[in-house]
Every structure is written in structure tokens, then in C-alpha cells.
Symmetry: C2
Subunit: 410 residues, 2 copies
């Protein structure tokens, strides 16, 4: 059969290790006698032949990675150079590696596609399968991406909680602005609409990169909401752009208000509201917690990330290559998610945006279609082991970890 | 016996409603036939006679508030004027209110103290008891404050998760800076040290307002940690000050580096690191999520907040007034927490800071004393009901809530 390699790439998600675990599980299920390696720090680990034998690890350790966030194998953001591809192939040939599973987003699918192409050209028998991963949910041809559901659940939960906090402070006349990840798409910001169960509930206003952002309209929206409800919760996608496609967070040299600004999007919007309306603004910028909050996982997302890893091995074992695993939704009897497949060549470098009719006309909220799409993806809670009141995460390099120095706290 | 009032004040915590529930529970336990009112939006609700009869609510609703964050009664930040106190007393007299329970921080204890004093002067029989509440943990004469343990648990959990995320990205040479609440004390920032189990674990550097912050030393610390570990996780308390007592986040006009700055502390430190060391920095600023994260409560904290509410009623029923409930630690047989009491007059307007020998010599971390102090306070997890994958919170004004307009998503 030959050996296999699995690697992780780009920004991690809270469930990315589930896909690794799924690959290991299916590898054993296929009765493979050869080793399955994990490349440390993505494609760089392959180039440097920095491997760990995953098939030799205990089932207990592998299973413990399922509730551990971050990239257990390490990740990278290294763009392969032309001669790197040939070097990669020579390493595969030398080590008799016949299976390559790459867990990542857009760029990683492009890399996987090029590796697949080169192997074909060089007539080296290699099975390359991409496994989707991104909290941004921006990969095309898949209904959704592993990692998105958990990030959406954590963000919607946090908007509910901080929205209630804001509501209780009614008299202090506050606006809360939450800045949400998602690069050039608004899936994560839009998903926070799930937190609304009643008309007064947060979030009241949601701004997405799919609709050009207009500062005057934004200020009108904030004032109207404040008159109506008495407080305002704004969710804003980090990648908001104006009608010329220019990022709002880089608005420091814009002259419509003449303010000089630094910092990110939330700070920019805060300055607009405080200077133009005179209401105090608080910013919540959860940062990398959005993709790492393993204490608030979606069970649906965890299972689908695992399934995607398993499916990749099954597809390769059937003799497929140059494909990415997709998630396909079947709504005929409630929500069911099944694995599918798409050519890597078609996925690379395309960003899937929110359809325009899933956004309201004013461009400050979402329609029921969006809600119906996201809701199944955040279902189910996941329990996790704790030690001394904090999560007990697992590490592939546990034996190399240094104890705390004597006298040092922690 | 006469009627009672309970009110909430200042910034909420994730467990502040447990103290209200404890008051209601103990009020019924005392066999009181008169009503216990909740004042809507703190002391303002008392002045406006905006009450809800808590003793008439179902036990189910009251119990459901125990996992609901924010101030269920509403809060305020209103500073009473001199004639407000007399007005307050006249309302108490008119309605035969004999018990006043005020849940809050420093300023609220000062207010409660003045109400108590005026009632004594006017020879009106009134029992005033303060119930401590603050995630900042800065109230004196109590071992710790209800609200702190849950915020500490949520923050330490998030540092563990985002620290693992950062570690996985080793090769992208990143620094993460987390800005933590706490006003002029560093208790919350210091508590994140619990996330460290091994030498490489985050957080690597913790800066507290108790130690004057020096930018040059900070940059040295970051460079040293980067050389040693390959990535750097910094936790910084929002109230950091330089050796002249000037806030660091207001450093925009400082000239040591000549940078013009806006935004909060994390952005200020980010600019220092990026400009002087040239390593990319990510900021995590959890904002109000720190005091509202009901999905990550400490069971110990929940129980103690409830106990503090119950104890307040018992103290008043015994005939005490002008006191604040305290939490006393007994370590003789493991951790045990018992209620105590202190005169309101002694609490008002004092901030309890971290003892100097609980901070390391370099001023960039904590000692074992601090760890031993915080660890018992974050123990135990709390399950909560969910609906459609999100928390099912309770509201005292549930019947007045407006449904979502037809066609509006949420």
C-alpha cells in the first residue's frame, strides 16, 4: 500500500485535530500496515522530513486530541516555491509515501492540487486528498466547512451573554461593538444572528463584507436602534469594505469625518459613534479565541470534522486523487450531512460569499435563509475532561515538555 | 417584619444573579410574609419606585436566573445626590421597607453605608446589608469577591486555548497580547497564570498595575521569551501604569518612542512590539465577555455568590445593619469558604491590591502564593440548559418581551 502523510495548514480551528484523528482512525480501519506520518508544521515539516509516526501513537492519545484546539501537528503559512514541489516529490519517492492528506483552506488546496499534478506528470503513484478547514466558511463547492460551526456557536453564545450584560446596563447608554473574523466573507458575523430570540435581543445590527459599508447609514442605524431599544449591539465583520472596495479598518486617511485613526475595525467604528453620536462604545475583540474555544464546541462540527478526515482516507484507498472532501447537506428528513468530493483544481483560490438574498435590504442584518442554514451546524454540546478546574488538553510532544522551573508559578 | 428591597449595581458579573436568588431563598426561609421587592436598575429603581415583587415569582424562574449572566434586575452607575438620600428614606417609610440589600462593589458599599447612617439619624428602623460583587476582586476585608472566580476560570481557559493555537503556529513568529479587565488591580490578569502547566505554556509574561510598567524592560522580556520559546503570550492588565502613575493605554503623547497612538492598552503594546522588535502581534480583547461568560462558570463561585445573598438576609434578620457580607477562607482541611461580616464604613473606597511578594521580582509574573490563592476559586463546572444549541437564559421581564417581527431573522 505504501506510507501516508497528513499535515495541517493555515490558521487552526477548534476542531482541526478531529480531522487528523479521523485520518488515523480510517488508516487503521483500512488495515494499512505501513506508517501514517504526521508532518510537523504543515508542508514545511514535509520538506524538512520532520515527521511523527501517528500510527504508532496510542488510541488514547489520538482520541484525546479530539477536544484539544490548535494544530496538534503544528501549522505553517509557507508558500511553496517552484523547486520545493520537486523536492517534495523526491522525499515522497525516497520514503515510499503514496498518500498525502492536507487539511487546510484555499491556499492549501492549491498546494495539494499542484502536488497532485506534479506526481501525475512524473508518473509517481500518489493519492492526494484535501480536507477542508476554516472558521471563515469561505470554501466553495462544500455546503459548509469544518471549524465554522464551533466558531459560530461560540460567537453566538458570547453575543447572547454580552448582549444580556449590555441590556442590564440600560441606563448607562452604551453601544457594544463586536469585531468578528471571516476575512472577506461575513459567514461568522452573520451567524451571530442566531443569538436573537426576541426583538430586543442582541445583536441589533450586523455588517458584512458582502454589502459595501456606508458610514452615514451605519450612524443612522445606530441612532434608530438606540431610539427604539435604548441600547445597541453591533456585530461587524473584520473585512468590511466601502463602495470602492477599500477596507474600513484602514480608514485612517479617509476624510469624510477627518479623524486620524489607528487600530482595527472595531476601534474605527467606535470612534465614528463616539465622535458623531456621542454615545459611549465598548469593543469586544475575541481574536484567536474565535478559532480556539474548545470549551464551547458544536458536537455537529466535531463529528463532521472527524468524518471529513475518515472520508479522505477512504477516497484515497479507492484510488482517487486530486480531490477535496466536501460536506453535503440533505434536508429531506431534517438535517443530515454526508461526505462528497470535488476536484482540487476547482476549489483553489475561490472565496464563497453569502448570497445577496440572505442579507436584508438595508444591509444591516440577515434573512431567514441564513438562519436556517447555520442553525443545524451549531447543535450539540461536547463535554471535555478537566484538571484543577481547567481543560485537560493532549499533546503529541507530551514527553518533550519541560516542567515548570522550581520556584516558578503556574 | 416589614418589606425588603434588593438591588444590583455597577458592572455585572456572570454570577451576580445568584446573590439575588440567595436573598429570595433566605427571605422565604425566614418565613417572611411581607414582600421582597427587586428594584429595577439599582438605586435609580428605588428612587423611581420601579419595583418587581420577587417573592411573588415562581421558584422555577428564580432558580433559572442562577445560570443567567448580566444584572437580571438591571443595574446603574448613578451617584446619589445629597437630597436623594432623604428621598430614598421617605420612600422606605411610605412603603414600610425595613430591609435593604445592595449587591455591588466599592461605590455601592459607600451608598449603602450612607443609607444606613441616615436611617439611624432619622431613627427609622432599617436593616442595610451589602453583598460584594466584582470580577476585579478589589474589595477589602473579604478573602475574595463573588464574580472573580468565574471570570478567572474563563480567562485562564481562554489563555490555555489561544496559547495552544499560538504554539501550533510556531513558524509564523507571532506574539499574542491579551488585555484583561481589573481596573487598578491585577487579580484577573494574575489568575491567568493558572493556565501554565509546563515551562513552554502560555501565558509567558504577565503585567500587573501593582508593578510600574517599563517599556524597555517589557521589550527585553518579549525578546528573551521569543529566543527561549519561539513564541510569546503576554497578558496585560488594562490598568497598567508607568513609574509616575500614568496609564500606559493613554501613552499617545509619550515621546520615548515618538509614536502617536490611539486605542486601548493592547494596541499600545502591540505598536511597541511591532515597531521596536518587528514581530507580528495579535490582540485578544475579550471585553464584557469576561464578566458575562455564563457558559464557563466556576461552580465554587456560583455557590459562594448564592451563599453571600442568603447570609445577607440572615444577618439582617438577626438585627444587624451597616455591614457587608464577606467570604472567609479556612484552609485547615482543604479549602472551605464561610461567610463573615465587616462594617460598610470600613469597606467603602478602598482598593485591595495584590501583595508585593505574590508578584515575581522582575514584575512579569506571579509567585506560588498567588496560584495557591486563586486555584480553589475556579473549581467545578456548571451545566446549563440549552435551546437550539445556545444557552436558554431566564428573564424577569419575559412577558413583556417582543417577538421578532414577521420576516425578521433571528
Amino acid at each position: 500500500m505504501g506510507k501516508g502523510i497528513v499535515a495541517q495548514s493555515g490558521g487552526p480551528t477548534a476542531v482541526i485535530n478531529n480531522s487528523v484523528c479521523g485520518v488515523v482512525h480510517a488508516w487503521k480501519e483500512q488495515g494499512a500496515k505501513d506508517s501514517l506520518f504526521g508532518a510537523m508544521h504543515g508542508i514545511k515539516g514535509v520538506l524538512e522530513e520532520n515527521f511523527i509516526d501517528l500510527s504508532a501513537q496510542s488510541s488514547y492519545l489520538i482520541e484525546s486530541l479530539r477536544h484539544t484546539p490548535g494544530a496538534a501537528l503544528g501549522s505553517c503559512r509557507y508558500k511553496l516555491q517552484d523547486d520545493d514541489y520537486l523536492k517534495l516529490l523526491r522525499i515522497f519517492q525516497k520514503k515510499n509515501i503514496r498518500y498525502f492528506f492536507y487539511i487546510g483552506g484555499n491556499d492549501s488546496m492549491d498546494t495539494a492540487h499542484k502536488v497532485h499534478q506534479l506526481a501525475q506528470q512524473e508518473q509517481y503513484e500518489l493519492y492526494v486528498i484535501g480536507i477542508p478547514k476554516t472558521i471563515d466558511n469561505d470554501l466553495p463547492f462544500t455546503d459548509h466547512c469544518p471549524g465554522f460551526g464551533s466558531a459560530a456557536k461560540y460567537l453566538a453564545t458570547t453575543v447572547m451573554e454580552t448582549g444580556i450584560d449590555l441590556k442590564g446596563l440600560l441606563m448607562s447608554k452604551c453601544v457594544t461593538i463586536m469585531e468578528v473574523m471571516g476575512r472577506n466573507t461575513g459567514w461568522l458575523a452573520a451567524a451571530t444572528a442566531l443569538a436573537r430570540r426576541n426583538a430586543e435581543d442582541s445583536p441589533h445590527l450586523i455588517y458584512l463584507p458582502e454589502t459595501p459599508f456606508d458610514v452615514e447609514r451605519f450612524l443612522e442605524d445606530v441612532e434608530d436602534t438606540y431610539q427604539d431599544i435604548g441600547h445597541v449591539y453591533v456585530v461587524a465583520s473584520e473585512g468590511l469594505v466601502d463602495k470602492n472596495g477599500k477596507y474600513i479598518f484602514a480608514a485612517k486617511d479617509r476624510d469624510s469625518f477627518g479623524h486620524s485613526m489607528l487600530g482595527g475595525l472595531a476601534e474605527t467604528l467606535k470612534t465614528f459613534v463616539e465622535k458623531e453620536i456621542g454615545i459611549k462604545v465598548r469593543c469586544n475583540i475575541l481574536g484567536t479565541a474565535q478559532r480556539a474555544a474548545a470549551h464551547c464546541l458544536s458536537a455537529t462540527d466535531v463529528n463532521e470534522a472527524y468524518m471529513a478526515g475518515m472520508e479522505a482516507v477512504r477516497m484515497a484507498a479507492e484510488g482517487s486523487s486530486g480531490l477535496m472532501v466536501t460536506l453535503e447537506r440533505d434536508n429531506s428528513h431534517g438535517y443530515v450531512c454526508l461526505p462528497g468530493r470535488i476536484e482540487l483544481s476547482r476549489v483553489a483560490n475561490i472565496e464563497k460569499k453569502i448570497p445577496h438574498d440572505w442579507i436584508n435590504k438595508r444591509g444591516n442584518g440577515v434573512s431567514q435563509n441564513l438562519i436556517d442554514y447555520v442553525r443545524p451546524l451549531i447543535q450539540g454540546e461536547v463535554s471535555f475532561p478537566t484538571r484543577d478546574g481547567l481543560p485537560d488538553f493532549a499533546f503529541l510532544d507530551a514527553l518533550q515538555r519541560r516542567p515548570l522551573p522550581v520556584g516558578e508559578a503556574g
